[in-house]
Symmetry: C2
Amino acid sequence: MGRIIAIANQKGGVGKTTTAVNLGACLAAAGRTVLLVDLDPQGNATSGVGLGKEEVDRGVYNSLCGDADWENLLRSTEVANLDVLPSTRDLTGASIELVEVERRESCLRDALIPLRDEYDFTLIDCPPSLGLLTLNALTAAGSVLVPLQCEYYALEGVSELMSTLELVKEELNPGLVLEGILLTMYDSRNNLSRQVQDEVRDFFHNQVFEAVIPRNVRLSEAPSFGRPILLYDLQSKGSQAYLMLSQEILARDSGT
Amino acid sequence: MGRIIAIANQKGGVGKTTTAVNLGACLAAAGRTVLLVDLDPQGNATSGVGLGKEEVDRGVYNSLCGDADWENLLRSTEVANLDVLPSTRDLTGASIELVEVERRESCLRDALIPLRDEYDFTLIDCPPSLGLLTLNALTAAGSVLVPLQCEYYALEGVSELMSTLELVKEELNPGLVLEGILLTMYDSRNNLSRQVQDEVRDFFHNQVFEAVIPRNVRLSEAPSFGRPILLYDLQSKGSQAYLMLSQEILARDSGT
Ligand SMILES: Nc1ncnc2c1ncn2[C@@H]1O[C@H](COP(=O)(O)OP(=O)(O)OP(=O)(O)O)[C@@H](O)[C@H]1O
Ligand SMILES: Nc1ncnc2c1ncn2[C@@H]1O[C@H](COP(=O)(O)OP(=O)(O)OP(=O)(O)O)[C@@H](O)[C@H]1O
Ligand SMILES: [Mg+2]
Ligand SMILES: [Mg+2]
C-alpha cells in the first residue's frame, strides 16, 4: 500500500512546492515510485518538473469530478520513477465549484483510490490556503509534512494549521498523522532563523525533522530550468539537504 | 476623496503584508491619514502593526456583512495617522460563506463606502489566492499594487494575475488601474534577481516602480516586535526603500 503525504501550510512562500518537487525526486532516485500531485492552481510543481503550461491541457482538475482516464492525465518527468498529475488553469475555479458538491472534501481521496498501489509515495503540493483544495489533500493523505520557513510570520500561523489538522482528523480523516515539520530557508548567520529553530524544536520535539533545508540560491534557480535540484546541482547544499530528508523518511518507514 | 489600493498577488510569500504595513507607515509618517485593511485570514498585517490575536475579537469580517459599527472595528496603532481594520479567525470561513451571498464580490466595496473620505489612503492586504476575498479587494480598490518577488516561480504567476485584473476591470470594477509592480527581495549579488528585474522592466516598462525593495533581514525581524520598519530600524535599507516607494506614489498624486 502506497503512502500519501500532503505538503501543506497556509502561509505563502514557505517552500511547499520546492519540498514536493525535490523530496519527490530524491525518493525516486532512491528507487521508489513517486507520484507528484499538483493541487495548486499556480501550477509551480508542474513547471518545477519541466512541464510547460502549453504542454498540459488536462490534469488533477479532471480527476476530481470522478471517472478519471489516468492514461491521459498522468505524465512522466525527466526523473525516472517520478510521475506528475499536473495542475491546469481550471483548478482556479475548483475551490468555488466544490462548495456545492456532495462530500466536497473527499473528491481527491476517492479519485486517488485506484492509484494507491501504483506508487510507493504520492506527494500532494497544496496551495497557500486552508480552503477546499487543501482540505481535499488533507482528507486524501495518510500524513502531512509541514514546511516551516524560519521567519516570524510563518511561525505565527503554525497553531492555526495544527488546529485545522486536528479538525480534519476528527471530522474527515481519522487516520491523518503529522509526518513532520521541516525547517526551510534556514540561514545560520541570522538570529531570527536560530530563534525560530529553537522555539520550534522546544515545542514540537521529535516531530521536527533532523534535516534542515538551508537558504540556498541554487534551489531557487533550478525551477527556471524545470529541473529538481538533483539534476540541476547535485553538490549544492540544497540538494544534500533534501537527500538527507528523503533518507530520514525512508529510514522511518523501514524502522516501522 | 481617499485612494483605495489593493496589495495583491496570488503567489505566496512575495512581500504583500510587508509592503502593506511599511508603505502604510511611510505614508502616515508623511502626514497622510492611512487605513490598513487586513483581508488575510492569517492576520499578519494585524500583528505586523502590533495588535495581538488575543486583543482583537472583531474586525473586517464583521464589516463584510453590512452595517458595521466602525467605532468598535477600527483600531489605532503605534504609528500616528495609521489605523487598522484587523483580521480575525472567522475570516477563514468567509471565502466559502461568501459564495452564496448576493453580489458576493462587492461586499467590501459597499462596506468601505462610509470610510472613503475619512482616510487619504486605504491599503488592503490580500491573501495569497485569487478567491473571493481578493476579488472583494480588487472590486473595492481604485488601483492595485503588485509586489513581485525576484524569483522564477513568482514571475511565472504574473500573467495569470494580469488576466484576472483585466477580468475584474471588465466585469466588476471598470475603474481599476495598476498602481504599479514593486520588485521585492531583490539581491543584487544574485543572477536570478537581476534577470527577473530585467525581464519585468522590459515587459512592463514604466508600470514598474523605480523603488526596489532589497532583501533585508531587518524587514523580517520587525514583525516580531510588532513594528513597521520605520519604528524598528529607520536607517536600514528596507526602511529607506519603502520611504522611496511612498515618495514615488505621493509625487505621482501631486503630479496628477
Ligand atoms: N531553501 C531555499 N533557499 C532559497 N530559495 C528557496 C528555498 N526554498 C524555496 N525557495 C524559493 O523561495 C520561493 C518560495 O518557495 P516555494 O514556491 O517553494 O514556496 P511555496 O510554499 O510553495 O509557495 P506558495 O505558497 O506560493 O505555494 C521560490 O521562489 C523558491 O524557489
Ligand atoms: N525585502 C525583504 N527582505 C527580507 N525579508 C522579507 C522582505 N520582505 C518580506 N520579507 C519576509 O519574507 C516573508 C514573506 O513576506 P510577507 O509575509 O510579507 O509576504 P506575503 O506575500 O504577505 O505572504 P503571504 O502570501 O503568506 O500573505 C516574511 O517572513 C517577511 O518578513
Ligand atoms: Mg507552492
Ligand atoms: Mg501576507
